[in-house]
Symmetry: C2
Subunit: 152 residues, 2 copies
């Protein structure tokens, strides 16, 4: 009848689990939901819209803190688009840093694996690299010099 939904329906409609909806309420990301007399939470279209917003932002990797800011800007008619851009750009920078870190791990690991004989012999350049005191595999504090042993 009414457009009010229980938490399970809101979860299915928004893609945010019921568990997380309650969690977002507890940490104050979203306001406390209306309740039935029995204490069941109720969600209207606006709340579900907000939940979808949150899910999309999470899909883009925004932290809950960032999303709180984005929600504030979303509801602020006088917001400046550059304020939103700033949040997004900050997150983009973090994503790029993370990607660079992972890509350099991938690069290092590919080199190590390429040197592996992949057979039953015990000789293994991967372990050699990891145990070699002279060779700081991807050591962050040394910078990336990439002096990989190609033992086998």
């Amino acid at each position: 009848m009414s457009q009010l939904h229980t938490i399970g329906e809101a979860a299915a409609d928004s893609g945010v689990s019921a568990k997380m909806i309650r969690h977002y309420e507890k940490i104050g990301l979203i306001g406390a939901a209306e309740r039935t007399e029995a204490g069941y939470r109720l969600y209207g279209p606006a709340e579900i819209h907000t939940l979808r917003f949150i899910r999309r932002a999470r899909n883009l990797g925004f932290s809950v803190d960032d999303i709180g800011e984005l929600l504030g800007l979303w509801h602020d008619e006088k917001r400046a688009s550059k304020d939103v851009r700033e949040v997004a750009a900050g997150h983009l920078g973090a994503l790029r840093a993370k990607a660079a870190e992972i890509l350099s791990m991938i690069d290092a690991l590919e080199h190590l694996i390429a040197g592996c004989t992949n057979d039953n012999r015990p000789d293994c350049p991967i372990l050699k690299d990891l145990s070699n005191d002279a060779n700081p595999a991807l050591a962050k504090e040394v910078g990336h010099k990439f002096g990989y042993q190609r033992v086998c």
Copy 2:
């Protein structure tokens, strides 16, 4: 005199924090250290070598579980190099998946930011995208169709 070091020295020598050395001992990644009569942990060259091994593997992004396996293979003279390769390859696959995920977030976010006027007007395509029910920003469950609005 002896080549035994306290946990602080071992930490400085290995690049693993004292906190984490104790943690690794507690979870069984490394054996319990010798102790002085006063209860201070003592580390010899072999232990510090192991700690360096652990740090290098962590720098490559291996999980502590993976490192436990690698340590076992490292100490196993009869290991097959393909066993090591398998652990490394599994981790490499996980890294590649993570990288792909982050890169697709970066891609999506770059598109959104590129559409932003970056001024004081309230119109903002980033928020529009996040709030648009018809546009599942980077929605994992829909696959990546990338139908970004270029509103401003």
